[in-house]
Amino acid sequence: MLTYSLLAGLLFGLYFSLVGLGLNLVFGVMRIVNLAHGDFLMLGAYCAFWLYTLFGVDPVFAIPVAFVLFGLVGLPLYYLLVPRLLAARDPEMLSIILFFGLSQVIEALATIAFGTSEQSIPGGDLGRALREGWGRLTGHEIESGPVEIFGQSFPSAWIISGVASLIAVALVYLYLYRTRTGYLTRAVMSRRDEALATGIDVNRVSAIAFGIGIALAAVGGVFAPFMLGSITPAMGVDSTVVSFAVIVMGSLGNPLGTVLGGLVYGVSYMLVQSYLSSWANLLPYLLLIAILLVRPSGLLGKRVRLA
């Protein structure tokens, strides 16, 4: 039981890292709080659901679609909302109000469009096209059943979600530390005023980070039907709260600290699910309060908060 909880916790932890990553990137670069983050995750989930339902698209292929689609949504949304926010006296507080409103609008529109019923995608269909392609190539069909790790069985969808999340985190790391725009992104995260004064186009860098943040939320949404069981338009709020718990634990403003926060959250979540399941829904709130009281700068502390 303990081994299962720990391993499942790590898989969920990787997923939760992906869920919080975009939110932390946006906060780190712009110091604004995107309370609609979970709603973009929800829309990403519906993107995968409708691609699967209408066209039979394997949700794995919904990942690039969601990333590009929501990245492109994020760019104009940035220019529409964020520069005005940043010009305000208290952008952080104003962003909470503005994005809370946006969250409500998105949820209401999604409810009108998709209804309130829970929707899901069969777990075995995640990666089905890849398995079939591999089977045609090699003549050896890969089973869609549970995968065994250290004697414990896990749904293949969890493994795929965990691996995909790990790849997403690695790509964000490469973006931040191995690309010119990523270098500029870290400069803006470190000192926005200084970045402006060195001639960096801070608005462009921020818009790209905002687009990536929303795209990452949508990619997290693609795996939501498999990791969270089902999707509804109301799931956005819960996802936002989980994201906050994860990034506050890791280190607010440090995207890579999100991974640590996600893993701690994932393992805690599965341990509570296994041994105290009725408390599981309280976990994000309890962890948030505990971290804010004991170590408000996050587990990775102040030294890495500026990325």
Binding site: S190, R191, L196, G199
Partner: protein, 241 residues
């Protein structure tokens, strides 16, 4: 705009939540001139620097720089055109070394490749000994010099210096004053915002005295101290909103 002017501001207005921080300010700066911007707290000096450097967009008025209208342009574009500034409180990239801070400004600030040498620039500002230390470990005077180095690394034609002298000892003040004059002799125009009148007297060719967001006097500092309105403003009772 006279061909000798690198900057001409006309009717510049900046309003913060109903408060007119700049209220139709007009002034000009010639090429190679060091202009002192003085006035009591809240008179709009730093706001002027912030608007000219692109940190804030003005509500009204014109800023002509090097023959072109630049009011409202984004700060990074102004840096590329040749306007840069220092901050009252320096804000370097703390995790980066002094050298890396300057290298970022060289790379993205619009200077031509090879035009600025980071080591030479740091050396000219007495930062060579701390070039490889993180900016966070530098003392406040060194951080001020690093801030100046960052601005110089972008090869500005107009340098806006916001209270660079505050906190420096007399020897450092003399040295900074000599440096600013050296920059001006090379053709750079400089606006100095400063409360230390001795420093202003030492470095500036001319001063503009501001009050309530407007220019109330233009001339030498010696003439300014003879001006009745200037004296009233500095000694109290003349601050009109």
């Amino acid at each position: 705009m006279s061909p000798d002017d690198i900057l001409r501001i006309d009717g510049l207005t900046k309003i913060f939540f109903g408060f007119r921080a700049l209220d139709g300010l007009s002034l000009h700066v010639s090429r190679g001139e060091i202009l002192g911007l003085v006035g009591p707290n809240g008179s709009g000096k730093t706001t002027c620097i912030n608007v000219v450097s692109g940190l804030y967009a003005p509500e009204d008025g014109s800023i002509r720089f090097d023959g072109a209208e630049v009011a409202g342009l984004a700060q990074h574009k102004l840096v590329h055109r040749g306007i840069n500034r220092t901050f009252q409180v320096p804000k370097p990239f703390m995790q980066l070394s002094a050298r890396e801070n300057v290298e970022v400004a060289i790379a993205y600030g619009g200077a031509r490749q090879g035009e600025v040498d980071a080591a030479a620039l740091l050396g000219s500002l007495n930062l060579d000994a701390v070039a490889n230390r993180p900016a966070a470990e530098l003392n406040s005077a060194q951080q001020k010099m690093l801030d100046l180095a960052r601005a110089l690394a972008t090869k500005p034609k107009l340098l806006l210096v916001d209270e660079l002298a505050a906190g420096l000892n007399p020897a450092e003040l003399d040295w900074v004053a000599a440096k600013l004059k050296e920059f001006a002799r090379s053709g750079m125009s400089i606006i100095v915002v400063e409360h230390l009148m001795g420093f202003i007297e030492q470095v500036t060719d001319r001063v503009v005295v501001m009050n309530a967001g407007k220019e109330i006097f233009g001339g030498t500092l010696g003439e300014a101290v003879q001006d009745k309105q200037v004296v009233e403003v500095f000694l109290g009772g003349g601050h009109a909103h």
